[in-house]
Subunit: 193 residues, 2 copies
Amino acid sequence: MASMTVGTVAEDTKSRLLATAVRLFSEHGVGGTSLQMIADELGVTKAAVYYHFKTKGEITEAVAAPALRELEQILDEAAAQRSRGAQIDHALAGFVDLIVRHRALVALFNTDPGVARAIDRSLRGAQNFKTRMVALLAGPDPDLAGVITVHVILAGLALTGGAADHEDLDDDTLRSHLFEVGRRMLGRPKRRV
Amino acid sequence: MASMTVGTVAEDTKSRLLATAVRLFSEHGVGGTSLQMIADELGVTKAAVYYHFKTKGEITEAVAAPALRELEQILDEAAAQRSRGAQIDHALAGFVDLIVRHRALVALFNTDPGVARAIDRSLRGAQNFKTRMVALLAGPDPDLAGVITVHVILAGLALTGGAADHEDLDDDTLRSHLFEVGRRMLGRPKRRV
């Protein structure tokens, strides 16, 4: 049991470390945040941070990884739907839900070139996700207009969901509005409520 | 004439300084860029930078100011149009044109929390612009759905216009696609071409 406790403490430090990193990244940008600042904020030594992550890039990757894994799963589920309409609705609903649940993280993804680049570099998840999402929402072999339309919708939903303007809205309200806006923009018929 | 030449040289240094700042901000974020880095990149002393700008905030403001002034003018012109449709088309066309002409700057606005915050703080231009743009595009007294729709469209257009994915598209192509996507999303009728 002793080793389990040690493991749990380490895990706890790790998750506190990631939460602190996200907060500092949001405030100062990734470029403006150092491992030393993260250590100071946590009240630990830089060596303690270094025990978990060797570089800021590793922290950025660890921050982004769970959300990207969720996205992959949403895309798999969406692709397994039978009709085009159900595929679009599933992908859109999953994307919007993810945005709303991880608002702070989304705001960070949206607003820091360091994060986006670190993810592209290390996970190649963002590019892969974008390609799959465009294929699902715009259909196979979309023309330029179709691709740009989907980009505008996804970027707009993500940026609006993470925006400070809507911080006061509760999750359910924000989720349902973003979903309806997305459906309308994608030309999906009105739902009966 | 001597003083005019000196003035011209100073102006030239200032505009080179701003261009260099934009490039460094894009690469390292505002938080990750120092006055010293800007001086080094320009091959001048920090004192020479300091002659023009006392703080990084002043540089950010100077970078953003011309585009915000253009936006104000577009909104004035749009508000002076007679029909709601013409108001929407004018505001949208002006916004899209500005995005496309200043792609690098827009990418920076979109992707750095430091820039957005500096603008909000020093010019209060961004918030004022957003309020006026929403009023123009969503109409007077819009409900939450209307406000969110306009936010998604504006954020989506700006993020897509500044995105690296579309770097290869020439200005005319990008401009016309973004304009058409925006019109469709705002429920404007198809134009005869």
